[in-house]
């Protein structure tokens, strides 16, 4: 173990594997939350994870950068065994960006400082260089003129776009989104999805937990349907929406579409 696996994988996952789950289990006390997850995400692939609330989507995505520890099975990310003892998890996390439902911007820092903090303090990028890149990223997500604002002075949509810029600041190979638009007012959802859509075309590996089915249909290479801690179905979007095989998928789709 340890080196990236180069052989092809399941549906849509050809080429180098960025993320691989093998029979992953996770419990919170007596609650069995992930019940044997097997999943491969190819480098550059965009995977959207959908499923009912409480089905384990957040837990699944949070295991990728070990914000949650797993109880059994293994996860390999960018060739690194995530759960193995001796794994330098901080080094791995630098290669994985994460965007949260509640934005989690640092409220005591300006937009610009939010984006610069990790590059300067974690990666040791010189301040001037980090600042230049941060400004560039903020422009890219449409926050250019607000770089001096504190998060409290920004709308939810603006905060989430800053959070995306922050996640990109470390030049990650993978970016994880956990319901990035669920805390937003409807009129702000679009501006965030637009940024994500742009990102999907850059070749970065994306795993997105989302209820935005329009976005999933348009941007995803593959949709993974999770229910009750298991992956029930994983298909390209057109097949998933128009030709769901499993009863549970159909029931879920009938509720949200």
């Amino acid at each position: 173990m340890g080196q990236p696996e180069m052989h092809g994988a399941g549906i849509g996952a050809a080429g180098p594997v960025a993320i691989e789950f093998r029979d992953v289990h996770k419990r919170y006390g007596d609650l069995h939350v992930l019940k044997g997850i097997d999943l491969r995400v190819a480098a550059g692939e965009v995977v959207v994870v959908v499923g009912p609330s409480g089905s384990g989507k957040s837990t699944l995505i949070r295991c990728i950068n070990r914000i949650e520890a797993i109880d059994a099975g293994d996860i390999t990310v960018l060739g690194v065994p995530v759960a193995a003892r001796g794994t330098d998890i901080r080094a791995l996390r630098r290669r994985i960006g994460m965007v949260f439902q509640q934005f989690n911007l640092y409220p005591h820092k300006t937009a610009l400082e939010n984006v610069m903090l990790a590059p300067v303090k974690v990666a040791g990028v010189p301040r001037g260089e980090a600042e230049q890149r941060a400004r560039e990223l903020l422009r890219r997500v449409g926050i250019g003129e607000k770089h001096g604002a504190y998060p409290a002075a920004l709308s939810g949509g603006q905060q989430q776009r800053v959070a995306i810029a922050r996640a990109l600041a470390m030049r990650p190979e993978i970016i994880l989104f956990d319901e990035p638009t669920s805390a937003l007012d409807p009129e702000m959802i679009r501006e965030v999805l637009d940024v994500m859509r742009g990102l999907a075309h850059t070749g970065i590996t994306m795993v997105v937990v989302s209820h935005e089915m329009g976005f999933a249909r348009e941007v995803a290479d593959r949709i993974v349907f999770v229910d009750d801690g298991m992956i029930v179905e994983e298909r390209p979007p057109l097949e998933f929406f128009d030709d769901a095989r499993h009863e549970r998928t159909k029931a879920f789709l009938s509720k949200i579409l």
Binding site: N65, R93, N104, Y106, K121, V122, A123, M170
Partner: protein, 215 residues
């Protein structure tokens, strides 16, 4: 009543005032340094570190600070450590204040949403970096008022110096009183001198709180 006693002993009282000020500054520095390390340890990932920090906080703040001062001054020499009265008071008041500060700061830390720590560590920060760069700057702002109250307690606790024969404010008042029998005058004078330290301190913390609130 002869208020002249104060004027006649102005030099002594001035020296006592300065000594109290120095004791307070040194004790505060000890308390602040201890607590800024101990408070994060109370939520550290390693259980052994958490336990050590909890033990320090719970033992220290549940013992009268004078016990710690006496221990430092009278007991430590038996263990081969000689402390001056000044050092003994700073150790006692600083140690006690450190536990109080640590508890206050910990309450601030626990008021910070968990997502702050998660996004910091998801970016590759260590526990120490996440605390220093993300959590503590937010937590400390929340607890400025209780930190001010405890800072004033530190100033007041330096009066324990009188119990180990120091010439700080209280010790000086006691000394002058025993020479002149003008006890009413000297202790009122001592109270006024403490107020000259504590009231500006309270005002400074209020100003700091208002300034942070504006941001």
């Amino acid at each position: 009543m002869s208020w002249d006693v104060l004027a006649d002993n102005a030099g002594l009282f001035w020296h006592g005032f300065q000594t109290t000020l120095l004791l307070a500054l040194a004790s505060w520095a000890v308390a602040a340094s201890l607590s800024i390390v101990v408070a994060p340890l109370r939520v550290a990932p390693l259980a052994a570190l958490r336990a050590a920090a909890t033990a320090y906080v719970e033992f220290t703040r549940n013992v009268p600070p004078i016990v710690i001062v006496f221990f430092a001054y009278f007991a430590l020499p038996n263990l081969g450590v000689e402390l001056s009265p000044f050092a003994a008071v700073v150790a006692g008041v600083g140690f006690y204040g450190g536990a109080m500060f640590a508890e206050i700061i910990r309450s601030g830390i626990s008021a910070i949403p968990r997502g702050q720590y998660e996004s910091a560590t998801a970016q590759g920060m260590s526990f120490v970096q996440a605390m220093r760069l993300v959590i503590l700057p937010q937590a400390l702002r929340l607890v400025v008022p209780p930190l001010g109250t405890e800072t004033i307690n530190i100033i007041k606790n330096t009066s324990l110096g009188a119990a180990v024969s120091m010439g700080e404010i209280l010790g000086t008042a006691n000394l002058v009183g025993s020479r002149t029998f003008a006890y009413v005058v000297v202790f009122v004078g001592a109270g006024v001198l403490y107020l000259a330290l504590t009231l500006p301190t309270a005002a400074a913390f209020n100003a700091l709180e208002r300034r942070l609130a504006r941001r």
